[in-house]
Symmetry: C2
């Protein structure tokens, strides 16, 4: 689906993020869902810092992206937006109650059970990499991730998707598992590695990722490069 400034759906995205966040900003999840259900959309790109200003906070009280506008309807939180898209357009949500339940439970499991320890690890190795307590703490964070990966791998078994056919639940499970940096934590789970590859191979995902990347035309804020160099030179936690 080409991005269309006159489309009835508008989302928001950033014009710049650090390299480590490119391909991970959460508008990707919404773009992917829109591609899967073949809906055109427009993008309002926020300039550096625009997400913290009052105009954007009126749509998104936590000063983040994405937001979603469709006529009079506005939504924030990528999980809520993906769920809305799955209900609004055919393609990401089975119609039978059991299929719907599988999609719903895996969407929430991704966001509230699987993602928190993975984001914790990302915070520890990126924003807190220079703190003296960060490296000694990492094994305990890794243990929490590994527990979830053990359980997810056991449940997936040799199935293609967690929810039967690919649904909003799998879209979100792929989205949170791919935050895991580096191959070490995932390598013991060949079925999860194959699952991630299966998700990334979907044409809708490829298009959404390319479109997110093409929106990063801005420059870092003053001082960012120096901060980043300092982090990298510090305790060596940074991935």
């Amino acid at each position: 689906m080409p991005i269309d400034p006159n489309a009835p759906i508008t989302i928001t995205a950033y014009d710049w993020v650090p390299d480590f966040a490119k391909g991970q900003v959460r508008d990707l999840r919404v773009r992917w869902a829109l591609e899967e259900v073949r809906q055109d959309y427009a993008v309002r790109i926020l300039p550096q810092g625009g997400q913290k200003e009052a105009a954007h906070r009126a749509l998104q009280p936590f000063g983040q992206v994405p937001t979603y506008e469709e006529g009079d309807l506005t939504l924030f939180e990528s999980g809520a937006i993906v769920w809305h898209i799955a209900e609004r357009f055919p393609g990401l949500m089975p119609e039978d109650p059991a299929g719907r339940a599988r999609s719903l439970e895996w969407l929430f499991a991704a966001l509230n059970t699987v993602e928190p320890p993975i984001m914790d690890y990302a915070i520890a190795t990126l924003f807190e990499a220079g703190e003296p307590w960060s490296a000694p703490r990492l094994p305990s964070v890794e243990a929490r991730i590994t527990e979830r990966l053990d359980e997810a791998s056991a449940r997936l078994g040799d199935a293609d998707w967690f929810t039967g056919r690919f649904t909003a639940g799998d879209l979100m499970m792929v989205s949170v598992l791919r935050i895991i940096e580096g191959p070490e934590l995932l390598a013991p789970y060949p079925n999860l590695v194959a699952y991630l590859a299966r998700g990334a191979d979907r044409p809708a995902f490829g298009q959404a990722l390319a479109d997110q990347m093409s929106g990063f035309t801005g420059s870092p804020p003053p001082g960012f490069d120096e901060w980043m160099a300092e982090q990298k030179a510090s305790t060596g936690v940074m991935t």
Copy 2:
């Protein structure tokens, strides 16, 4: 609603948790939702460790409670279950698209934006209280919580609820904000303190809490009391 062993809905809960978890186990969220929509339910109490056994993992791959069974329909993840209840029975979800959108976005914001730093703080002060890196790290966790509280407080203003009238979104926002231990972090936000009190004053919440508490008739696993004493005697992070 009395708990009824012959009710068409069955949830799972624990027969024992540590004192600090009593009143916080996530079946409370589901009990609360069922009370709000006035549905009887049965409870299958899992004995110590039962949540990690194959029979329960067939329903809940991450070995947690609650689960939800209603005829042939099964669900896990309290967020998914609360959303299902809100869609299935009148009372927790407005019918107009805007009201529905508000409920949906705050349900997800509670679980994916507000709860993660709050749970992080709980892990740091409970399970990791004895680790040497836990206390020095707390200020950075507190800063993440405070940022979210600032934003939530600004959005709530002098309204009673985040979603207009009380809906599934507010049920979940109250549920995650009340995890915050001690009054210090919340005290700067009188409107959030009043919001929490308003949630806890709902008769449906009171009934759900009393029913969760009455189910804790089991005993701690061998060695638990010693572990707990050790944590408390350690670095003093423990709340």
